[in-house]
């Protein structure tokens, strides 16, 4: 297979083959990070820009390390939301930076679709590092990579995604990724946080955590954004914890051999209890490690063709 896409904007538009190709490419890059000298010259002379309109630590760091391990130059460009409201459009910002001859934009924005606007107006590669409630494709790819590493396959597994599906770009990308690769996805959360018509994209909906995690191979907990309580999506954090938080009691009701995942950062004591977070079947740190390899693969495939 020959990768021809300039951008990675989401998993919705990728085929099963596309996704597997990225994961296969990531396998060879994972080994680089295990070397004493963690660098290959794959993208030497290329310039990547972390264009973050929304604060982020781990995703930005992960992309930065991935770029540097490919020998690319990486620039961090954080745009305060205030400067955007002062009349410069998203596209203006990107074109300004492109005028400095960069090869790739890694875009994080609080507005869904922002990377699409940029992609339509620049020649550089555009990687979506999370847009609004829409997609976070590299997070899903690293999750898929991790699950494949653990189980040796994805097809036939049961994945329970728990929490605020409505506002979660991680959930959306994971739903596309896991279903395309043949897993069965169950989404679970308070009904107010399950978006309209989601069952039509091939997942089952469940409002009961115990029910959802029964027979699940992966329990995937989403981070709860605490400010959602102000919008009355749920009555209180303690009620959320009681019904949708994952603790030892729920842990013991799950399948014998299941694994726990979380995109980070965790709200300990809210969606995840400290005890369960530290169990040996937690894949949380492995996810973070794999993030570098997957992002190296994505950067390599998209940026190497940019002239």
């Amino acid at each position: 297979m020959n990768w021809k896409r300039k951008d990675l904007l989401g998993l919705q538009d990728l085929s099963r083959e596309d996704i597997e190709y990225i994961l296969d490419t990531a396998v060879s890059f994972k080994e680089v990070s295990a070397r004493p000298v963690k660098k290959v010259p794959a993208l030497r002379g290329k310039t990547l820009v972390n264009l973050f309109f929304e604060p982020s630590t781990r995703t930005k760091t992960s992309f930065e390390l991935a770029g540097k391990r490919l020998s690319a130059d990486v620039l961090n460009f954080e745009v305060g939301t205030s400067s955007v409201s002062k009349g410069e459009t998203i596209v203006d910002t990107a074109r300004n930076i492109e005028a400095m001859k960069v090869d790739c934009f890694i875009v994080r924005h609080s507005v869904s679709g922002a990377p699409f606007l940029i992609s339509n107006s620049v020649k550089a590669a555009v990687i979506n590092a999370g847009d609004g409630c829409h997609e976070h494709p590299t997070q899903a790819l690293l999750d898929l990579f991790t699950v494949r590493e653990v189980f040796g396959k994805i097809s036939g597994l049961r994945i329970a995604i728990i929490g605020d599906i409505f506002h979660s770009r991680v959930a959306r990308s994971n739903i596309w990724g896991f279903t395309k690769l043949g897993a069965k996805v169950i989404v679970c959360g308070p009904p107010t946080l399950i978006p309209a018509g989601i069952e039509k994209i091939g997942v089952s909906v469940c409002y009961c955590l115990v029910e959802a995690i029964k027979n699940a191979d992966i329990v995937y907990l989403l981070r709860l954004q605490k400010e959602r309580q102000q919008e009355n999506f749920f009555p209180s954090q303690s009620e959320y914890r009681d019904f949708f938080g994952f603790d030892m009691e729920k842990f013991n009701l799950a399948k014998n051999k299941f694994f726990l995942m979380h995109p980070g950062p965790m709200n300990r004591g809210l969606e995840i209890s400290t005890e369960t977070a530290e169990k040996e079947n937690s894949l949380i740190l492995q996810q973070v490690t794999n993030g570098i390899a997957v992002r190296m693969a994505v950067l390599y495939l998209t940026v190497r063709n940019i002239q």
Partner: protein, 430 residues
């Protein structure tokens, strides 16, 4: 000056005429309409293959003066409207400051004197469009406003809306409701459904409209006032109006052109120019709206022309304001509805005598002695909408760079040519 238009298909819903005629315009009015006119040396337009339509009325548009003259002025908006075939436009009151007193209304009338077509402003329903206290409806009526509207905002307080309907009665002017439960629609960007879920955008459920349409109809019945429902978008809304109209005559409604020709799919590439309020819905809703036109449930087709700057629309779809421009594409887009079995005269009716009846103003007609307000339309001409050929000061339309079939070639207002298509002015001397 005399202008003779030869061999043109005259479509006039007022006289229920749809046939080939010669039409002579002398001064400000039509002086002769017959099968064949012979006249020495008048300026002549060959109307073969073209349509002659009465000047269109748009009872719902937004000009941005006073307050946002960078997006549109009364002059630029009316020039754009003339290019779309409109000879009367009614501008909404959500200017800055809003039209909630006679001074602002007077300012608009003053500016409108320089416009090539007739511009009639609405006054607000509530002071400052805040929904908490009534605007001086009497003062505004005497200043000449054509009706009342807080458009862009729904008067959420049912008691205030009831009072507005009741209080407006002595002046006999319509009260327009932007029927949307704004609390239910809060933070919404587009129609709620599977597509909003996929795009990660917050949805506005159709119920936000139905709830208010039901409330507004109930209050209109209670008060006996003249209620006009703006830009309806769903089948259910039309069902409610259909029921209401059976027993109560003071209810009218309109539909915007874009809701007839676009579905929510126009947002699937995050095109902020397709972000409108109420939102674009589904193909099923379009079919219901077309049926509403056929059955005369819908009284008027409007543009809801809403200019916005590129900066505002380019700030990401969730931050972008609602609205698209519409004057210059309205007539050809509305005409595309013939594919659903509507006759051209039925569509034109909703752009001429339909709104005239709602507003109680003189409808345009192509008859001897009538004011010569009319449009020459080429139903076959294809053209591409570009930033360069749009006359509106703003360019926010999802039809940008798209091909459209049907083009206004000339617009006459009181016998004057207020718009002529570039291709016309280059070839002929009109």
């Amino acid at each position: 000056m005399e202008i003779l238009i030869k061999n043109i298909r005259v479509i006039d819903p007022y006289c229920k005429i749809d046939s080939i005629r010669d039409v002579l315009i002398s001064g400000a009015s039509f002086s002769q309409i017959s099968k064949s006119i012979h006249k020495k040396n008048p300026k002549t337009i060959d109307g073969t293959g073209l349509w002659l339509i009465p000047g269109l009325i748009d009872m719902h548009c937004h000009l941005r003066e006073p307050g946002n003259e960078g997006e549109e002025t009364i002059l630029s908006g009316s020039i754009s409207a003339a290019a779309g075939g409109f000879t009367t436009i009614c501008c909404m009151a959500n200017t800055d400051p809003p039209v909630d007193n006679k001074v602002v209304a007077g300012y608009i009338f003053e500016k409108a004197k320089n416009a090539p077509i007739k511009v009639l402003p609405y006054g607000t329903i509530t002071a400052g469009r805040k929904g908490t206290s009534l605007s001086p409806m009497g003062e505004l009526s005497e200043a000449g406003v054509i009706g009342f509207s807080d458009d862009g905002n729904c008067v959420m307080d049912s008691l205030i809306f009831r009072r507005a309907l009741e209080y407006s009665k002595p002046w006999g002017k319509i009260v327009i409701s932007h029927s949307e439960d704004q609390i239910l629609a809060k933070n919404g960007v587009m129609n709620e459904g599977i597509l909003s879920t996929k795009l990660g955008l917050r949805g506005i459920p159709a119920e936000a409209e139905h709830i208010m349409v039901y409330r507004d109809i109930s209050l209109a019945k209670l008060t006996g006032a003249k209620l006009h429902l703006a830009h309806l978008t769903t089948k259910k809304s039309l069902d409610l109006v259909r029921e209401a109209k059976k027993e109560f005559k003071n209810i009218t409604c309109e539909v915007a052109v874009h809701h007839l020709v676009l579905t929510e799919d126009a947002l699937s590439n995050y095109d902020a120019n397709a972000k409108v309020n109420p939102p674009l819905r589904t193909q099923q809703d379009i079919r219901a709206l077309v049926k509403g036109i056929k059955e005369n449930i819908i009284d008027a087709i409007v543009t809801d022309h809403a200019p916005h700057s590129e900066e505002e629309k380019g700030s990401g779809i969730e931050n972008a304001p609602f609205g698209m421009i519409g004057f210059e594409t309205a007539l050809p887009l509305a005409m595309s509805l013939v594919k659903y079995g509507l006759k051209p005269i039925q569509i034109i009716e909703k752009l001429t005598i339909g709104p005239a009846r709602v507003l109680k103003i003189q409808p345009g007609t192509i008859t001897q002695g009538a004011e010569a307000n009319c449009v020459i339309f080429d139903p076959e001409k294809e053209w591409v909408v570009t930033k360069d050929n749009i006359l509106s000061q703003s360019k926010n339309t999802p039809f940008l760079n798209k091909k459209i079939k049907g083009k206004v070639l000339y617009t006459f207002h009181r016998g004057n040519i207020v718009y002529s298509d570039k291709s016309m002015s280059q070839n002929k001397g009109c």
